[in-house]
């Protein structure tokens, strides 16, 4: 990650102009002298909103996780909710599904994203158009994607099965069959998310200096050599970002699964988030809060070391 890095120290609006450096220096000096850049009153609304909408409920959640809570009243029950949540019959299925989903989606996004990235950085007619086309699904609401694909994937009457029937394949009941449900949702997730991976790869590939490609050409290497020995290793930072982003996205996935299968059929496509949501739906507010507290602890346990590790990597690549 060498090269241009934007200077983020100055958060103020940048009006391009000749007087800028002088003004910036002045502002920095003034800030050091008087403390924050703006009067505290201006921070107040944001602080208030953050406190009321985030900090207070978060603190309350830790308390309500220890109670039997019906919204009307709550009764302190100690750690019972945590015990009950961990004894949840389908927690192990949910945990396994969460990991499978995260691994499948991030792996496919890396492979397809890299392929599309290479394709869309080559000299291609309609390149700009194709780039927008690939990115388009990222912009669509997840729920809308879920509902659309539920219709497309219907057995017999859905477009996917009809298309397969044209070539003589009788498609399965994608979302209603236990063996294909989770995988079908994962594939839709890839369709929706691969645009972002592609954009990251395009940026990564374009930042590779052309000297390397010229060197391969001088040595008489072909397209495969260019890809295998230049593009692939030098787009590693992009791969890294794609893996991390889609893995975290996969771990906390909920909306697509909920709109397409609701964790079904039975419990076969349940993930941690949908299990927690079902407790909430059943009116077990204390129990589902306990589940969220556990999820919070687990995510923190993964993200904090990861963040530290990534931060270190960025300093010395």
């Amino acid at each position: 990650m060498t090269g241009h890095r934007p200077d983020t120290r100055d958060a103020g609006p940048r009006s391009a102009g000749s007087g800028l450096p002088a003004r910036r220096a002045h502002a920095t000096r003034a800030r050091r002298k008087t403390g924050p850049a703006y009067p505290y009153a201006l921070y107040l609304p944001a602080a208030l909103v953050y406190t009321v909408i985030f900090l207070v409920p978060t603190a309350m959640a830790f308390y309500f996780a220890l109670t039997r809570w019906t919204l009307f009243d709550s009764e302190f029950v100690g750690l019972d909710n945590f015990r009950d949540f961990l004894a949840e019959q389908n927690l192990s299925i949910g945990f396994r599904n969460t990991v499978v989903y995260a691994v499948v989606t991030s792996a496919l996004k890396v492979v397809i994203g890299l392929g599309l990235g290479v394709l869309l950085t080559s000299k291609l007619r309609l390149r700009g158009f194709l780039r927008s086309l690939v990115f388009f699904p990222v912009l669509v609401s997840t729920v809308a994607v879920g509902i659309t694909f539920s219709v497309l994937l219907k057995p017999d009457t859905g477009l996917v099965d009809k298309a397969l029937a044209l070539v003589g394949i009788s498609g399965p009941d994608w979302l209603g069959d236990a063996s294909t449900a989770l995988l079908s949702v994962a594939l839709v997730d890839v369709w929706k998310g691969v645009g972002l991976a592609t954009v990251i790869y395009i940026a990564g590939i374009l930042s590779i200096p052309t000297d390397y490609y010229q060197a391969v050409a001088v040595d008489g290497g072909g397209a495969w050599h260019r890809f295998r020995h230049v593009t692939l290793p030098l787009s590693w930072p992009a791969t890294y970002s794609v893996i991390i982003l889609s893995f975290i996205g996969g771990l906390r996935s909920f909306d697509l699964i909920w709109t397409m299968t609701r964790g079904g059929p039975g419990f076969t496509s349940d993930v941690i988030a949908s299990i927690i949501y079902k407790q909430y739906q059943a009116g077990f507010y204390g129990l589902s809060t306990a589940g969220n507290v556990l999820l919070f602890v687990v995510v923190t346990a993964i993200v904090v070391p990861l963040n530290w590790f990534l931060g270190r990597r960025q300093v010395s690549p």
Binding site: R68, D80, Q89, D173, A178, G263, G264, G266, A282, G283
Partner: protein, 433 residues
């Protein structure tokens, strides 16, 4: 500083205005003394049609009271809306909600107007009251009709194959074999709408009670379970059996209840385990459903004890936060009157008997309602378990989908449900769990 203080003053004024205007909407009586009641109902077509007729005909008789119908989603999403609005004191004046076990979770003593001994209940049948009662206090009047939970069947298919409505499970299976041999789907299942998968278990309660009369009491006390009571586990076994025998429609895993009803009416499927109330909204598009579709209870083992499980009507309740309790009571008294039943009959075909003294089914009632009435006249009905016990496990619909798709063996499904029930009982804070 001058500017910023003025800016802040303006901001404050805007905020205050916004707060004031957002609070002040609605419920003050208008200048001419008319009162407006808000009436929250779920958004199913049958409910909405019924609610609108009740509101319109009531206002005709009481021009000083207007009723505005509001809708909410059904299912668990709707439960949460009702609970949230009740607990924040933001409920509509009058609302339509389930009776039985779901009502218990609303904490009626704190959130609803107590109707015990009130003349509002004058016309309500006495045996309905327990399902809208908590702690000896009555909170609601019946909305619409009772309904049957059993099997809707296509009488045309039965006629063609010379079959008769089964009185035992063995007869039912024999019918299914013949129907399948004829190339028609014997049993329609629609597991995309997961709730529809529960009928074989919940609708079997009449048979459970016939075999184990004290099941509901012992189940509530935690001493009887589905896995250890063979009659109770039979429902799970039936579910597994129709799947194992290949009696289900193709694509049952992603079919919706709407598709299932269509299949039934068009004769592509012969049986659909369902609630009778699902039929009336279909009459608009398929008038033949009125005569072609019949109803029988889920058959058990003993032909002499053949009967059916019925669901009591939902209740209509008054929120404690209402500013017009008298107007609301007037509305409830009208709802629980034969006149209201007659008005509703004109718009929504009843799917079962009323729980209001003096309210009768119309002469041209649909076949399903007539079949259900025959069971009631025979005295061969039992209320569903959720009206006899406050506990109903929330994961039943997922478990029944898993059992009905052959993913979980029936005995294991019953055991999973017992655990789910235990969790619910603990969350309700019941004694002895």
């Amino acid at each position: 500083m001058q500017t910023s203080r003025r800016t802040m003053g303006t901001a404050l004024a805007v905020l205050t205005m916004a707060a004031l205007t957002s609070c002040g909407s609605g419920s003050e009586p208008a200048a001419d003394g008319t009162v407006t009641l808000s009436f929250l109902v779920d958004n199913s077509q049958a409910t909405l049609d019924t609610a609108k007729v009740l509101a319109d005909t009531f206002t005709k008789g009481n021009p000083a009271i207007r009723v505005e119908v509001e809708t909410r989603p059904g299912g668990t999403e709707g439960d949460n809306i009702v609970k949230t609005r009740l607990s924040t004191g933001d409920m509509s004046d009058v609302f339509w909600y389930n009776s039985g076990s779901l009502l218990q979770a609303l904490n009626p003593a704190q959130t609803m107007v107590d109707l015990t001994g009130d003349p509002v209940l004058k016309n309500v049948q006495k045996d309905y009251l327990p399902v809208v009662t908590q702690g000896g206090r009555v909170y609601g009047v019946p909305a619409g009709t009772a309904l049957g939970g059993g099997i809707l069947y296509n009488r045309k298919v039965y006629e063609k194959l010379g079959l008769k409505a089964p009185t035992t499970w063995a007869e039912f299976t024999a019918n299914n074999d013949k129907i399948k041999a004829d190339g028609t789907t014997p049993v329609i299942s629609t597991f995309k709408d997961t709730w529809t998968s529960q009928l074989f278990v919940l609708g079997d309660y009449y048979n459970v009670q016939a075999a184990v009369p004290d099941f509901a009491r012992d189940y509530t006390a935690g001493t009887a379970t589905f896995a250890t009571t063979p009659a109770a586990q039979a429902g799970f076994e039936h579910l597994a059996e129709v799947h194992a025998k290949g009696h289900l429609n193709e694509g049952f895993g992603s079919a919706t209840s709407e598709q299932g009803l269509k299949m039934l009416v068009e004769g592509k499927g012969a049986h659909y385990p369902m609630l009778s109330a699902m039929l009336p909204p279909l009459l608009k598009d398929y008038p033949q459903a009125a005569t072609d579709i019949g109803f029988f209870g889920i058959p058990g083992t003993d032909p002499a004890k053949n009967g059916t499980t019925i669901w009591e009507p939902p209740g209509i309740y008054i929120a404690k936060s209402t500013e017009h309790p008298d107007a609301a009571k007037k509305f409830l008294a009208y709802i629980a009157s034969p006149a209201a039943a007659d008005a509703v009959n004109k718009v929504v075909q009843p799917a079962g008997p009323y729980r209001i003294e003096g309210a009768r089914l119309p002469d041209d009632a649909i076949q399903v309602a007539k079949d259900l009435q025959a069971y009631i006249d025979k005295g061969a009905t039992a209320p569903a378990l959720e009206f006899l016990s406050p506990i109903k496990g929330p994961a039943l619909e997922q478990i029944t989908v898993a059992v009905g798709s052959g993913l979980t063996p029936p005995a294991e499904g019953a055991a999973q449900y017992d655990k789910d029930v235990a969790k619910q009982a603990k969350q309700l804070g019941l004694e002895g769990w």
